[in-house]
């Protein structure tokens, strides 16, 4: 989720645009790539490669923190995440065109179907906090992935703790974004 910002790439793009016409097939140093390279492509105007404001993806911004972690069998948002949830609520209040998808997750233990419902409860808890703090109902959708998409594929306490989680995904008014 977090992206590294490479200013050099950004300046390369700006230079490319302001200088003599560039053959687009000639290998200009701009590409869209996600995954293991650790390089996020950035376009001008303060948007990242998915069309989201850098405020939401810059690791220095609190809003780039998108995960809320839960205790075993629990679905209440713990006090240490209240600030983070409040920051996201504030963003949604000031940016009414933006939407978020909350994905609830669980660890791998127990019933898949019960975990699907538990993940939904976790996503709903985050949604409820956002709405209570001023986000509009229609800005927030909550879904569950249950235990089906573990972020950490391990089978120990550390992996399980990392997988008991709700993630906040953003979508810009133009439909671009993370979901």
């Amino acid at each position: 989720m977090t992206k590294l910002l490479i200013p050099a790439l950004l300046s390369a793009l700006i230079v490319g645009c302001s200088s003599t016409p560039v053959d687009e097939t000639s290998g200009a140093p701009v590409e869209s790539r996600n995954g293991s390279s650790g390089v996020a492509s950035v376009t001008a105007g303060g948007l990242d490669s998915r069309g989201l404001p850098r405020e939401l993806t810059d690791p220095k911004s609190q809003l780039s923190q998108r995960s809320i972690y839960f205790d075993l069998d629990k679905y209440d948002v713990k006090p240490e995440y209240q600030d983070l949830v409040a920051a996201h609520a504030k963003y949604l209040v000031t940016n009414r065109g933006f939407k978020v998808l909350i994905q609830g997750n669980t660890d791998e233990r127990g019933s898949r179907e019960y975990n699907l419902s538990l993940g939904q409860k976790r996503a709903d808890a985050v949604k409820r906090s956002l709405v209570m703090l001023g986000a509009k109902e229609e800005q927030v959708e909550s879904v569950s992935l249950g235990e089906e998409k573990p972020k950490n594929p391990g089978h120990d306490d550390a992996a399980w703790a990392e997988n008991r989680r709700a993630d906040i995904l953003y979508r810009a008014p133009d439909g671009r974004g993370e979901f």
Binding site: D73, S111, E113, Y114, L116, S117, Q120, E141, V143
Partner: protein
Amino acid sequence: MPQFFRKFLVLLALLAAAGAHAQLSIEITGAGANRIPVAIANFAGDSAAAQVVASTVRSDLERSGLFKLIDPAGATLDENAPVNFADWKGRGADALAAGSVSRGPDGRMQARFRLYDTQKQVALGGAVYVTGPEQLRAAGHRIADYIYEKLTGEKGFFSTRIAYVVKSGGQFKLQIADADGQNAATALSSTDPIISPVWSPDGTKVAYVSFEKKKPVIYVHSLASGQRQVVANFKGSNSAPAWSPDGRKLAIVLSKDGNSQIYSVNADGSGVQRLSQSAGIDTEPRYSPDGSAIYFTSDRGGSPQVYRMGANGGDAQRVTFEGSYNVSPRPSPDGKTLAFISRRDGRFQLAVMDLASKQVQILTDSVKDESPSFAPNGRMILIATEIGGRGVLTAVSSDGRIKQRLSVAGGDVREPAWGPFNP
């Protein structure tokens, strides 16, 4: 439990014949206390075909744990050959099957057999099954079903099918196989998870939850045509389908109105009705076999437990009380037993409850049992479990004495569902 059954291990060399990587291999541990000694003579006729049929019959009966196979010592007997009862009795066989396989004038194969009681020295019956040349094993399963029913008084399950999901290299495959894990065919491939397959009562369709739309959506999939229909795709999660015994409705779980709650829906997706009303999680509905009640999992009492309500909703009664986590209820086909998964000291194990006495018995000593599913005769329970970090299927007899493991080379197997009797 393992101490009171004699432990033996039979590895069936089924993989060698099968080839395809998704075939299940089977391992049996444990056996019933009083196994019926039975001899299956080599069948006469087309020798290659006869061997397929006879060996299918033998491995089916062996796998059930209810029979002790007596070595026929090379004897080949067709269904009309005279039987030396004293000789077979002397070898320890209480029952004997003899038969033949031949090609009929239409090119189809005819498998005939007769079953004898060596004690009473009488024929118990016989039949002829006609199949295509590539379906000889199906004839073997039919013969094994016949023998099973004659000797135990219960219908056999060897001709039934199972569904399960294999995860391998980021791919999820919903597979349909014979009850012995052979003849696996892929009904659906997806890069997104597939969970909770359930067979329609007539065995022609499977309902399941697929994440291909990036969220859980319920489909009904016709196996013969591959045609798929969305049954529920509401806002939020759509999951945990269960067929009503008449096949006209599904109980499902939706989060469209807030919490996960139980609804019913017609099999074509129309007529959604809310059945449960709670402030917590209600999920994993299953109809009782007579269709009058629904068992389900709910955390309304503070921890996930099994409850029961009328098929049209209404008041629910709590069914499980021991422990802090009892989920995935599945009533047996006769409605007398409930299988479920119980967490004990952090281990998730298959449990059964006698519904009349409320007596609970833990049937496994595993750590991560999931998704129990009764064989249609109620004798075995198929579960997903984990061995060495890999998902495998295990069939456990409903008294816990017999266990068969089914695993797929190179894949994680989960979410088993045992299909109904063949029509």
